[in-house]
């Protein structure tokens, strides 16, 4: 047996420690600190809540499996996330088994809220360790906690940790080593938790705090001062709008250099291969199908990473819930909860995590509406299409001094998606009739500096997901599309480029009947077909379509000038409008089916989005033509 196999076996038999705590207690940062890159992100069986498991080795050489449970305020579950946490800890999930040790992570600056959950879990009788996390912040604020006294009061090991600091997890690992070997214990039934009322539990928390801590009331004045500005009725929304605008500007301007490097590199590879290979089917597959197609999607990696860079920072420093607070009235106006903001914001990256994040919404109808409108938020997969068309048709100049016109158009497209989502939500709520009250109940955590390590791990996850998609779904589609567009070849004496006679060409020409009224020629129609599988593939497909349509050897030249010369402005605008509402990529539809439990919601979604997209493109095309575009 090899070393890695031995290690894998040791890990699979290692004790399972579960990290459990309130949202915002720094649990995930501690998980990242313990496991580093040794993480496995999957789903809990039967549901699509993210299950993060990793492993680590203690100083004494004992292996542990580490499970990062979803954050919970209580084991009396109010959301599906909390239900998972409750079921795992209670040993009710057949596939997971109850954890061997529960590590309760608490925010040392807010023991009053956090300790209640600890007392609840203690009633289950599992071996426990308490992590006083963020002790550095608590000390700075003058909060004094006697950890030894707390350990005596709770009858459990108490360790101090600073999850954002290198080595801040050492005390926890030492405490786990002291418990070695871990003897599995069966948890008591969950009913044990309700044996004591919430008020009595809170009374006990207050009693414990009066014994072990001083100055627990020292609150976070700095966060309050920041909130005075950030949540200000006038300044707040202005800051939010400026912030969003700057992010979209940055996505366009910062990404320019790395994007040029990637496209230049891809071009070089194509040229190199063309020079060293004999002309034939294989060269065509490699240069036009794989390198041309995949390369034109890969080039958008920098933009996606920049967008996530900002989302992750805003999330980590605590601004996102403030944005939800500011937007709550707007959301409430169309019948959504402010909580819907987080799923909708995630949808700017991709609708799939957005649809999944809707789980944190308690009201089922509210959740369904949020899921249905999530794909109207402009996901990053649409960005490649926007970027390509904007670069080809919108001149690169500045308006009102320093604002890039291209960035401004992009901002408008995003805005159109948001407005239409609000309209659809309003319509759905109205047609659903009954006016139910929507709960908000959202914590506004203390602000803190974003953690570089968490940022890097988060960005790495995103890059990995994107590259996996490029390497699997997109590559497969590109090869398939290349085959469809290359066979059968052109007949002798053909007047059109060869793709016109291929299977894809036939399909595209058939679809042209439907799409001609909104200004799409057969080239665009061909690209729309694989675009159903993944939106960004449409760009790669256009690359293939036009590369194959070109006569001569200028295959690797960029698409931009080709599009600018072969489409009218009205067609370009129509395509942009189409993509604001673009019918779903298949993976989103399958997630919607899974999350809602009904295939009919996936059909509703595809249907209403197709109708919206077609109407919007139709109007855009004809108005643009009337105006002479």
């Amino acid at each position: 047996m090899g070393v890695t196999e031995k290690l894998a076996q040791a890990i699979s038999h290692a004790p399972m420690i579960a990290l459990l705590g309130n949202p915002n207690c720094g649990k995930t940062a501690l998980f990242n600190r313990l496991t580093g890159s040794r993480q496995k992100v999957a789903n809990y069986a039967g549901v699509t809540i993210e299950r993060k498991e990793g492993h680590c080795l203690s100083p004494a050489g004992h292996p542990y499996r580490v499970l990062d449970l979803p954050g919970a305020y209580s084991l009396t579950a109010h959301t599906p996330d909390e239900a998972i946490t409750r079921d795992v800890v209670g040993g009710l999930r057949a596939n997971d088994g109850s954890p061997d040790v529960v590590v309760c992570v608490v925010d040392a600056t807010n023991l009053r809220l956090n300790l209640r959950l600890v007392l609840e879990i203690q009633r289950l009788g599992l071996p426990m360790v308490l992590c006083l996390n963020m002790v550095d912040v608590a000390k700075k604020r003058g909060i004094e906690i006697d950890a030894d006294q707390l350990a005596r009061e709770l009858h459990m090991t108490v360790v101090e940790t600073v999850a954002v600091q290198s080595g801040g997890e050492k005390a926890l690992l030492r405490a786990l080593d002291d418990m070695w070997p871990v003897v599995p214990v069966k948890p008591r039934p969950l009913a044990a938790i309700d044996a004591v009322s919430v008020e009595d539990t809170q009374r006990e928390v207050r009693r414990i705090l009066s014994v072990v801590a001083k100055n627990v009331h020292k609150s976070d004045d700095r966060s309050e001062q920041i909130d005075n500005v950030v949540l200000h009725p006038v300044a707040g929304p202005v800051i939010l709008a400026v912030l969003m605008f700057l992010i979209f500007q940055a996505v366009f301007t910062w990404a320019a250099v790395p994007m040029e490097m990637i496209s230049g590199g891809v071009e070089q590879i194509g040229v190199l291969l063309s020079e060293h290979m004999a002309d034939g089917v294989l060269r065509s597959l490699l240069v036009e199908g794989i390198i041309g197609g995949v390369g034109s999607v890969l080039v958008f990696l920098p933009q996606i990473l920049i967008l996530f860079f900002f989302i992750l920072i805003l999330e980590d420093c605590g601004y996102l819930p403030r944005a939800a607070f500011l937007l709550d009235r707007l959301m409430g106006g169309v019948g959504l909860s402010g909580r819907a903001f987080i799923p909708l914001l995630s949808s700017f990256a991709c609708a799939i995590p957005g649809v999944m994040a809707a789980r944190t919404i308690q009201n089922p109808r509210d959740r369904l509406v949020t899921i249905m409108i999530a794909p109207l938020m402009t996901c990053s997969a649409r960005l490649p299409v926007y970027a390509l068309v904007i670069a080809a048709f919108i001149p690169e100049r500045e308006v009102w001094g320093a604002v890039s016109l291209q960035g401004l158009i992009l901002f408008c497209l995003y805005f159109a998606g948001i407005i239409s989502a609000m309209g659809v939500a309003w319509f759905m709520k109205r047609s659903a009739g009954a006016k139910a009250k929507q709960a908000l109940m959202m914590e506004l955590p203390s602000y803190h500096w974003p953690n570089l390590r968490n940022l890097v791990i988060g960005l790495w996850e995103r890059a990995k997901i994107f590259l996996m998609r490029v390497g699997t779904v997109i590559l497969t589609l590109m090869v398939l599309l290349w085959a469809l567009s290359s066979f059968p070849g052109a007949p002798a004496g053909a007047t059109h480029p060869p793709i016109y006679y291929s299977i894809a060409g036939m399909l595209g020409r058939a679809l042209e009947v439907i799409f001609a009224p909104i200004g799409f020629g057969w080239e665009i129609c061909i690209a729309l077909v694989p675009g159903m599988a993944a939106r960004e593939v449409a760009v790669g497909a256009l690359g293939t379509v036009y590369a194959l349509s070109q006569k001569g050897d200028d295959l690797a030249t960029s698409l931009t000038p080709v599009l600018a010369s072969s489409w009218s402005l009205a067609t370009a605008l129509s395509l942009l409008a189409w993509y604001v509402f673009a019918p779903q990529c298949l993976s989103t539809l399958s997630v919607v089916r899974r999350e809602t439990g009904h295939v009919r919601y996936a059909f509703y979604m595809a249907g209403y989005m197709f109708a919206l997209a077609y109407s919007a493109s139709f109007i855009t095309y004809h108005v643009a033509r009337a105006l002479g575009a």
Binding site: Y73, T109, N110, D220, F325, D328, R329, A439, M441
Partner: protein, 89 residues
Amino acid sequence: MTLAPSLINLDTLAAGKSGTVVHVAPTNGDGGESADLARRLMELGFVPGEKIRMLKRGMPGGEPLAIKVGNATFALRRYEAALVAIQPE
């Protein structure tokens, strides 16, 4: 439910003012959902005896509310805050 004259519901507290939670109860009539909300409010720390402070009220219409309880801040809608009866300072 009749309140003693000095007690008010949390949703009517002005921004910047403080108070102490006296009791949390579902309003009359709408059964299970309010009871659920009341329980969750208590789990978040809105239990009798806790000091609370209204930090901010959203615009327009004074909603949502940002309320400090213990060392945590929560955003609530009006009808949620209306379940909490407080003694203003």
